[in-house]
Amino acid sequence: MTADRPNLATAARRLMATLVVAAFPALLAAAPAMAATAPVATDCTPEASTACVAAIVMDEENNFVPDVGVTISGAEFEAQVTTTQEGPVSVEVPQVGTYTITLDEATVPDGLFPDPPEIDVTAQRGSTARGAITLGDQPAGAAPTAEPGETATGGAETPAAGEAGSEEATSGGFSLANAWQKFGLGIRLGLLLALASVGISLIYGTTGLSNFAHGEQFTLGAVLAFMGINMWGLPFWPAAILAVVICTATGFVQDVVLWKPLRQRSTRLTQLMIITIGLSITLQFTIQLLIGNGSERILNTNPTSMTIAGIRLSSWSWASMAVAVLAILFIGWFLTRTRIGRATRAVSDNPALASATGINPDKIVRIVWTMSTGFAGLAGLMYGLSVGTFSWNTGMQMLLLMFAAVTLGGLGTAFGALAGSMVIGVVVEMSPLIPGMPNDLRYATALAILILVLLLRPQGLLGRRERIG
C-alpha cells in the first residue's frame, strides 16, 4: 500500500504543476474581463444611483409562493406587485429610506399565515433591500427571515427590521410552551414518517433492496388527491380513497412488470438499486409534469385549529395523527398475529429457510410492495393535508428522513423503523430550538443523526450485527 503512494503523489503534483503552467501566460496577457450577463431573477438591478426593494414570499420549505399580491410602500411611494415562482420581485424606489412590505391578505393562500405580517426594509442606493415573509400554517411561531442586502457598491449591510423580530422569536423559542408545541409537530412528523418508512424497511427486509423511489411514492399520495379534487372535481373522500387505492396499485403493478421479472433473472442488488433511481427520476418528472414546479394545496378551505394538551395543530393534523396511529397498530397486528405477516417476517429473517417451510417468497414480496406503496401514499396524502402545502420534491426530502429513521431503527426491522421515525420526527422538529439554528436547516439534523448512528451503532437500535457487514 505504502509503495503506491509516491505514484499518486507525483501524479497529483504533475497535475497541479500543469495547472500552474497553464495559468502563467495568461497572467501576462491579462485580457480584460468581459462582463458576462447572468440571469438575474429580479427586474430591478441596483446601480450606483438607484435603490431597489425586493419582496420574497416563501412557504415553509423555502419555495417561492407565486401569485401573492405585495404592496411596497414608503415615503410618497407605493407599488403593487405580484410574486412569481422564479424568485424575488423587486421594484425600483425613488429615494432611500424605510419601506414597508405587506401582503394582500386576499391573495395569500387560505390556511397560510404570513410571518411576519409585514416587514420594514431600508433601501439604499446601489443595493437591493430584501424583505422575506414566510407563509406558515401556524399564525405565529417560525422565525422570520430577513436576508441581508445585496450590495452593489460598498459593503454596507442593509438592516431589515425583521432581524429584530427573529431575535425575539429565538428568545421566545426557549419558552416551555413553544418547546411543547414543537414536540407536538415532531410527533406529527414522526407518525407520518413511520407510516412511510415501515415500507422501506419491509422492502429492504424481504428483498435486500434500498428503494430510492419511495420518496416519490410518498409524494404521489398527495399529488393524486390534489388532482382528484382540483382537476377532476371529485369531493374529498372519493378523491382521497382513490388516491390511496391508485398508490397501492402502483406497488402491485411495479412488482408484476418490473421487480418479479428481475428477480427471476436474478438481477444483482446494485443493478436493482440503480433501477429504483431510474424509477425515482421517472416518477419525479411525471409528477412535475402533472402538477408543475410550485407548491400546491390539496384543499383550499381554511383549516380550523384545535388545541389538545396545549398543542395547537390544524384539525387535519389531529385526524391524520389518529389515522396514522390506527394504521401503525394495524401493521403491528398484521406482522405479529396474521399468517401472512408472520410469513413476511420469516422471509425477512431467512428467505431460504422460509421457502423451505412452504412459504412462497414471491407472493410475500408482492404483498410487501403493494402494502409499502399504499402506506407511503397514505402518509403523503396526510402530510399534504396536515402541513398544508406540498410540492414535487416533498417526498425527496422525506426520503432523507425515512433513511435516517430506518437506519436508526435498524435496516430491515419493521418495528425499528417505527421507533426510529418517532425519534427523527421529534428531533427534526425540535432542532430549531437550538440557538442560531435556522428553521430551513432542520432536516440537516437527520443527516447528523444518520452519521452518528453509523459511527457508533451501525446496526441501529433494533438491528442485528450480521446485517451490516
Binding site: 495547472l19 447572468a38 422575506a132 436576508e147 446494485t270 431510474g278 421517472t282 425527496m396 453509523l454 451490516i468
Partner: protein, 328 residues
C-alpha cells in the same frame, strides 16, 4: 428544413459544450467510485456543488484562481472524509444512503437564508461575481470565432475559452486515470470491487483504498462542478438530485470501468437530450410549455436509465464479464 438544421446544429454543439465537459469530469470521478472500486456514490452533485461554492465564494472573497481551485478541491476532500468515515466499513448501500442525503443537505445549506450572506441563498451567486479571475487568464483576443457550424465568443461565459480549458482538463483527467488504473493501486481498486475479502487477505487496508478512491473521485466531481458553473450562475437548485442521476446515466451509458465511457456517455447523452428537447420545443410549440418540455426530457432520461441497467448494464463500451456490478 431550416428548423431541422438548426436543431441538429444545436445538438452537435452539445458535443463540445462546457456542460458536457463538466459532466465528463464528474462521470470520471463517479467511474473511479463505482466503475473501478464499486462504491455507490449517490451524491456526486453534492461534490460538484461544494466545488462550485468553494470556487465561487473564495473568488468573491478575493482569492486568486489557484487558491480558489484549491479551496474547491479541499472542500470536496473534507466532504469525502466525512461521508466515508462512517460508511466505508459497512455494506455498500449505507454509502449510497449517506451520500444521497448529504448531497441534499449541501443543497439545503446553500439555499438556506442563514448562509445567504455567502451563498446568495436561493437566488445563488451570479456568474459575473466570480468569473473575472478565470476570464482574465484568457490569452484569446476578443471577438467571435466560427469553426464549422459552431460560432461562439472567444472570451466570456459561453465561450471558446471555457471550452478550451474544459476539454483540456478532460484530456488531463483521462491521462491521469489511464496511468492510475494501470498502476498497482488501480489494480487494487478493481480487487476491492471484485472481492474485498481477497484483497484484505493479501494484507491490504481495504478501508484506506476505498477512502482514497472516494476522495479522488470526489475531487474530479468538484472540478466538474467548477467547470459547470463557469458559463452560468451557481444555483443550488440546479445542482440537485437529478444532476447526480444524470451523471449516473452518463457513466452507465458510456460504460462503467472503461476509460472513454464517461466521454462517450456525456457526448451522446447531451446531444440526444438536446435533440429531444429542441425537437419537442419546435414540434409541439403550441401545446407544450418550456418547463413541460424539460420535464418530459427528464422523464425520458429516467426511463432510459432503467432500460439501460436492465438490458445493457455494461453500457456501450463496457465489458459485461469484467463488471461484476455488485455493491461493496
Amino acid at each position: 428544413m431550416e428548423e431541422l438544421s438548426r436543431i441538429l446544429t444545436q445538438a452537435a454543439g452539445e458535443l463540445i459544450a462546457p456542460t458536457t465537459a463538466a459532466y465528463v469530469l464528474a462521470a470520471i470521478g463517479l467511474n473511479l467510485h463505482f466503475g473501478y472500486t464499486g462504491l455507490l456514490n449517490m451524491g456526486q452533485a453534492g461534490f460538484m456543488l461544494l466545488g462550485a461554492y468553494g470556487f465561487g465564494i473564495s473568488t468573491i472573497a478575493g482569492a486568486p484562481l489557484w487558491l480558489a481551485l484549491i479551496v474547491a478541491l479541499v472542500a470536496s476532500i473534507l466532504f469525502a472524509l466525512i461521508l466515508g468515515m462512517p460508511t466505508l466499513k459497512l455494506r455498500g448501500d449505507y454509502l449510497a444512503i449517506v451520500t444521497i442525503a448529504a448531497a441534499e443537505i449541501v443543497r439545503m445549506l446553500g439555499r438556506s437564508s442563514g448562509l445567504a450572506e455567502w451563498t446568495g441563498g436561493q437566488a445563488g451567486l451570479r456568474g459575473n461575481e466570480f468569473k473575472d479571475t478565470f476570464a482574465a487568464l484568457s490569452p484569446l483576443p476578443d471577438g467571435r470565432t466560427a469553426i464549422g457550424p459552431f460560432e461562439y465568443l472567444n472570451n466570456g461565459s459561453d465561450s471558446w475559452w471555457v471550452r478550451l480549458v474544459g476539454w483540456s482538463l478532460v484530456a488531463l483527467a483521462l491521462v491521469f486515470v489511464w496511468l492510475l488504473t494501470r498502476s498497482p493501486w488501480g489494480r487494487l481498486l478493481k480487487g476491492v470491487r471484485e472481492d474485498e475479502d481477497a484483497v484484505r487477505a493479501l494484507g491490504k487496508n481495504v478501508y484506506a483504498i476505498k477512502m482514497q478512491a472516494l476522495i479522488l473521485g470526489g475531487v474530479f466531481g468538484s472540478l466538474g462542478g467548477v467547470l459547470y458553473v463557469l458559463p452560468r450562475a451557481i444555483q443550488p437548485d440546479g445542482m440537485a438530485r437529478s444532476m447526480t442521476f444524470f451523471v449516473w446515466t452518463v457513466l452507465l451509458l458510456g460504460g462503467a470501468a472503461t476509460l472513454f465511457g464517461p466521454v462517450l456517455g456525456a457526448m451522446l447523452f447531451w446531444a440526444v437530450f438536446m435533440l429531444l428537447r429542441a425537437g419537442l420545443r419546435e414540434g409541439m410549440a403550441g401545446t407544450l410549455a418550456p418547463t413541460q418540455v424539460e420535464n418530459i426530457g427528464g422523464l425520458v432520461v429516467g426511463l432510459a436509465l432503467m432500460l439501460l441497467v436492465i438490458f445493457r448494464p455494461q453500457g456501450i463500451l463496457g465489458n459485461k464479464k469484467e463488471l461484476a456490478f455488485d455493491a461493496r
